[in-house]
């Protein structure tokens, strides 16, 4: 970069992109929340309409506008995604720190639990947990959170183990600081990037799982306009030629997931100390 006067450097560009993505996502989310229930009310007069200017995504078999329903479903999915990945990330940090700072037995136990949870396919585990907690939003949240903390917990454990071996931590102890003080002032601040990046990269997983579990009928109740519900309803009418009711909402879901994933990658590029200096 020496001698080269670029108006915008790479970091600034990444920051701008991240902000744009965040704004888009927030806009979709707010829009979904603000849509009144009347907008997604059924009307048999305009049932099974293909996409047009009036109904961007067409209407479903009950005459509900699919565009509005998709947006509303997205905001529901995003709520589930945010809540579940937040819970998962907090569990991960807690468990990771316990494993790295506790006794050897605690460490072995945590690793065993992580292996156990990771060895069972997520979808099956979420279905079981969600079913046990009475389905609905609560069951889904607990199911997704309980299966997605593992890899982040491993990452945090490794990070804490590495940090604890640092000389400045040993110096801090010799200067009379307690273990708790060291944890709060030396260790936790270093975990912030891992926490946020882990959180955001967990988010698309959570959304996809929410959709797939709802699609299979073990998640959200059918009256809720979630993407999974829309897709599972559309299956019934696919053979009648209503391609739009499956393709368009599905496409939007994939788009949102990709957007969030990209944002996570960008965010990592910004705050990860290994790449933040570029």
């Amino acid at each position: 970069m020496k001698g080269q006067h670029r108006f915008i450097n790479r970091r600034t560009k990444v920051v701008i992109w991240t902000v744009i993505l965040a704004i888009v996502l927030i806009f979709v989310y707010m829009f979904g929340i603000l849509i009144p229930d009347e907008a997604v009310a059924g009307s048999f007069l305009n049932a099974k309409l293909p996409p047009s200017w009036e109904h961007f995504f067409g209407t479903d078999a009950l005459g509900r506008d699919l565009f509005m329903r998709t947006l509303k479903g997205l905001s529901v999915s995003m709520t589930v995604g945010i809540a579940a990945s937040l819970i998962g990330a907090v569990i991960a940090v807690f468990v990771g720190i316990v494993a790295a700072t506790g006794s050897q037995y605690a460490d072995a136990f945590v690793n065993w639990i992580i292996d156990l949870v990771m060895s069972v396919p997520h979808t099956i585990l979420i279905i079981l947990i969600s079913f046990a907690f009475g389905r609905g939003l609560k069951g889904l949240l607990i199911g997704i959170a309980a299966t997605h903390w593992c890899s982040l917990a491993r990452l945090i454990r490794g990070e804490v183990l590495q940090l604890r071996a640092e000389q400045y931590v040993a110096v801090s102890r010799k200067l009379g600081k307690s273990g708790g003080w060291v944890l709060m002032h030396h260790l936790l601040p270093h975990l912030v990037p891992q926490f946020f990046v882990g959180l955001i990269l967990m988010f698309p997983h959570a959304i996809l799982h929410e959709a797939s579990i709802s699609f299979l009928g073990f998640g959200l109740p059918p009256e809720q306009p979630a993407i999974g519900i829309i897709l599972s309803e559309s299956m019934r009418y696919l053979s009648t030629g209503m391609w739009w009711s499956a393709v368009l909402p599905g496409l939007v879901l994939v788009m949102i997931v990709l957007l969030v994933d990209r944002m996570g990658e960008y965010l990592r590029a910004i705050i990860d100390p290994y790449s933040a200096q570029q």
């Binding site: 000389q167 400045y168 010799k174 200067l175 009379g176 600081k177």
Partner: protein, 202 residues
């Protein structure tokens, strides 16, 4: 009133041979002991043992005939060879210094630490500048003994002289004991009241 190592044995794991075998030395308060040895003779290990970072496999480290305290500010402070590893890279230098107590202006002045440096991050300072912070931090903790593990090896000659001058002056003022571990025989002869050569005595 002394810091002593009594017949200490040390090795990092059981498969290794002893790094330190039956090593005994003591430092009085107000004394500057230079430990001199070529590479690989366990100088740094000795420094870490004396300051309590490592536990001897056999033998004892005694401070005034008692083992080193495990809690609270340790009266024996180690200043290490690599200052960039001994400070948290995410902290501003001011925070680093305040970890060992409130800032004293006279210490800053004595080490030639400029005010502007206090708001910088460790990576924005050179090794020599960082080492001044580490020495100042150890001095500010109110330690009775300083273990200096090659603290001036990476510094230019002028800075070396400057830092040692301050350390020795401060040690004389507070009647501190110093163990200076070094490669440099001339430096050892210049600063020490007593010299131990590990390659002969062990």
């Amino acid at each position: 009133m002394s810091l002593e190592a009594k017949n200490i044995y040390f090795r990092y794991n059981k498969k290794q041979s002893w790094i330190l075998e039956n090593c005994t030395l003591s430092v009085e308060k107000g004394e500057c002991l230079a430990v001199f040895a070529p590479s690989g003779y366990g100088k740094t290990t000795l420094a870490m043992l004396l300051s309590g970072y490592l536990k001897p496999v056999e033998g004892q480290i005694l401070l005034e005939n008692k083992p080193l305290p495990k809690k609270g500010v340790c009266p024996v402070q180690l200043i290490c060879q690599h200052p960039e590893k001994a400070v948290n890279p995410r902290w501003r230098m001011k925070q680093v210094l305040e970890e060992s107590g409130t800032l004293h202006k006279d210490v800053l002045g004595a080490f030639g630490i400029e005010r502007a440096w206090l708001d910088r991050f460790p990576r924005e300072l050179s090794g020599g500048e960082l080492q001044r912070f580490c020495v100042a931090r150890a001095l500010m903790s109110g330690a009775d003994y300083l273990i200096c593990d090659e603290i001036s090896t990476m510094l230019d000659v002028i800075t070396q002289a400057q830092i040692w001058k301050v350390v020795l002056a401060e040690a004389a003022k507070r009647n501190m004991g110093i163990v200076a571990i070094t490669h440099n025989k001339n430096l050892a002869q210049r600063i020490a009241t007593r010299i131990i050569d590990l390659s002969h005595s062990v």
